[in-house]
Amino acid sequence: MSRETILNTLIEAEWPKLRRFFRTKVPDADVLDLVQNTMLAFVGGKLRDPQKARAYLWGIARLQVLKHYEKHRRGSEPFDSKIHTAMDLGPSISSRLDRRDKLVRGLQELPVEHQMAFELRYCEELSLEEVAVALGVSLATAKRYIAAAQAKLQDVFGSDPADMRVAYLRS
């Protein structure tokens, strides 16, 4: 497949998903840039196993988020995505996040890794294995992240993941 074809496919099929993913983590104005970077990295990278293309793509997306945080957050304390939430990032990012949607607010209050694990598993419907590869963790850890996120969201949101997915897709 030529580079153009891959990019075309990515734009057609993955742009809406990447948009949703980035939108809950970075300000609206930065979403398009991160999507672009993700797509360029994907075509420019070395994908060994085509079966793992999806996990690979989302792995890149995750790194884009973390890179963005490192670049733009202000604060002396190191940011640990396993513990800290998007709201812990400091005002230059957190104040510009779109927090009007209830579900989005709930997601932004999860530790970033938990948030990503939950969204990839239940909203973008990756398999557990794919989530683990994308986050660069073991299956058990991925499961733990997802369960923690689900429990917290259920508390706040009061419905099951299927309903949350519907709300997420509308965001």
Binding site: I11, D28, A29, M39, S95, D98, R100
Partner: protein, 504 residues
């Protein structure tokens, strides 16, 4: 899926094709090159773009419209508002374009592009002091007032619609856009496009489709109360400790359910939100003593000219005359230069003698004077009404003590006063349920206004009635009635009269 989201995805795909695949750039109205996204609302999408003609950055607000002949006059009027607290609008237009094979009919609002965050974000980023919050809201309020001057109503004021620029200047966004975008739809359909939660800021009459400058005032006051207290509460009642009295008073009046009881204008509300000017304590004491002396010597009549150390401005020379105190009043020594100017009756009525600084509010100094400013006088016989509907009114005969129960349908006249469109009698106190008796329709209903209030005449069955009603301070109807058997006179007319009161 939401149309706005679909639009964002369509535009985004085009932009990606442009940057990643070298596709031609996306142009709007043949003049603006779209660069990226700035934000998304319920009614539209805001994109960043470059004005190719003038070579400057702009923000384009794109709203999806489905009607052919949408009225742009509101948007055009907005473009004429030139005020630092209103985001500058450069142009408004409509476009029909195709993206990814799909046609889009969009309204385009071309605005200045500035960096900043929404007022909501600004409030959340850091703990803001009361003074900081007041200062920002005053700025936003001035923007609202400027637009009201050009007869533009916002209709959707809330902290999400105010941008706080990086330099701290607040700018109001999205003016009348809710109106312009939905002008061809029914009021209820327009409401459905609002983000859930906008309704919490809207005045009661605005929720029924009657937007006005006073509805904006309400939304502004609710937003400010939320910023100061952290929550939205209607009606405003207990003043939280961190909110100054003068602010709470102003907000309470601005959030009255009856729009006619709010302030006349945003400008008036903003005046009330300025800290009241304080005289130095010794000057206040001096004036109180002098006024007290006046009361003592002459009862309740106060003769300002001789009493209040009449410092008059000689209109010609602009000089201050030395204070001339009445001998009976104690006269502390007040250095001329520092004495606050107190207007004489002449100064109050003649412009020439107006002091440079506005006279301090005498209300603040003299105890016992009413603090509340009275609402403006209403037109003769006006029963102010914001919501049309049915009211239950019970008539009580002075002679017999018997009740008659009536359902009165009120409509709102263009001037905000009530008129009666229908009366039905549903029973009398001899019925088991006064409100559930056999309904008798009033015929020849005639509604008018006089010095007695809202006057209605009608004939129900054999009797003709005349009701004269006003509304009390709670908006409830009360008044008097007379009735007689139609077509008869003298004792045969069986004249009755009594009182009316509205019941829930």
């Amino acid at each position: 899926m939401d149309a706005v989201v679909r639009l964002q995805e369509a535009i985004g795909a085009e932009l990606l094709r442009c940057t990643l695949l070298g596709a031609p750039p996306l142009h709007v109205l043949g003049r603006y090159e779209v660069e990226g996204f700035l934000g998304r609302g319920a009614s539209g999408l805001v994109v960043s773009a470059r004005d190719l003609r003038l070579d400057r950055p702009v923000a384009l607000k794109l709203s999806i419209i489905d009607d052919q002949d949408v009225d742009l006059s509101e948007a055009r009027a907005l473009a004429k508002v030139d005020h630092p607290n209103v985001v500058r609008v450069h142009d408004a237009d409509m476009m029909l374009g195709t993206l990814q094979g799909q046609p889009w009919r969009l309204r385009v609002l071309v605005m200045q592009r500035t960096d900043g965050i929404t007022l909501r974000s600004w409030l959340n980023v850091e703990e803001r002091s009361t003074d900081e919050i007041l200062e920002v809201f005053r700025g936003a309020g001035r923007g609202l007032a400027a637009a009201h001057d050009k007869h533009i109503v916002h209709r959707d004021f809330k902290p999400d619609n105010v941008l706080v620029r990086d330099d701290g200047v607040p700018q109001v966004l999205d003016f009348g856009f809710a109106l312009a975008a939905s002008s061809t739809r029914s009021a209820s359909e327009g409401r459905r496009t609002l983000v859930a939660g906008t309704e919490v800021y809207m005045a009661p009459e605005a929720l029924n489709g009657m937007a006005s400058a006073r509805a904006d005032q309400y939304a502004f006051a609710i937003s400010l109360s939320e910023a100061l207290t952290g929550k939205i509460e209607r009606p405003l009642f207990w003043r939280p400790g961190n909110v100054p009295r003068f602010v709470w008073r102003a907000l309470r009046r601005a959030t009255r359910s009856n729009p006619l009881r709010r302030y006349d204008s945003m400008a008036q509300l903003l005046e009330r939100l300025e800290r009241p000017r304080r005289w130095p304590p010794w000057a206040m004491l001096a004036v109180i003593l002098m006024v007290g002396g006046a009361y003592g010597a002459r009862g309740t009549h106060v003769d300002w000219a001789s009493m209040l150390g009449a410092v008059t401005l000689d209109a010609d020379a602009g000089q201050e005359r030395a204070p001339d105190l009445a001998p009976s009043a104690p006269s502390p020594v007040l250095p001329d230069a520092a004495l606050p100017l107190v207007p004489t009756p002449e100064a109050l009525t003649s412009d020439a003698a107006a002091p440079d600084e506005p006279a301090p509010e005498l209300l603040e100094v003299a105890p016992g004077l009413p603090e509340e400013v009275l609402p403006p006088p209403l037109a003769t016989g006006c029963v102010p009404l914001s919501t049309p509907g049915e009211r239950r009114v019970r008539a009580t005969s002075v002679q017999s003590g018997m009740h008659g129960c009536y359902l009165i349908d009120l409509a709102v006249d263009p001037d905000g006063c009530a008129s009666v469109t229908r009366i039905q009698k549903t029973g009398s106190s001899s019925d088991l349920h006064c409100w559930r008796g056999a309904v008798q329709e009033g015929v020849d209903v005639s509604s008018s206004r006089s010095a007695e209030g809202l006057v209605v005449t009608t004939t129900v069955g054999p009797r003709s009635y005349r009701f004269a009603m006003r509304s009390d301070r709670n908006g409830r109807l009360d008044g008097t009635f007379t009735s007689e058997i139609s077509g008869r006179s003298g004792a045969a007319a069986d004249v009755d009269h009594g009182t009316l009161e509205e019941v829930q």
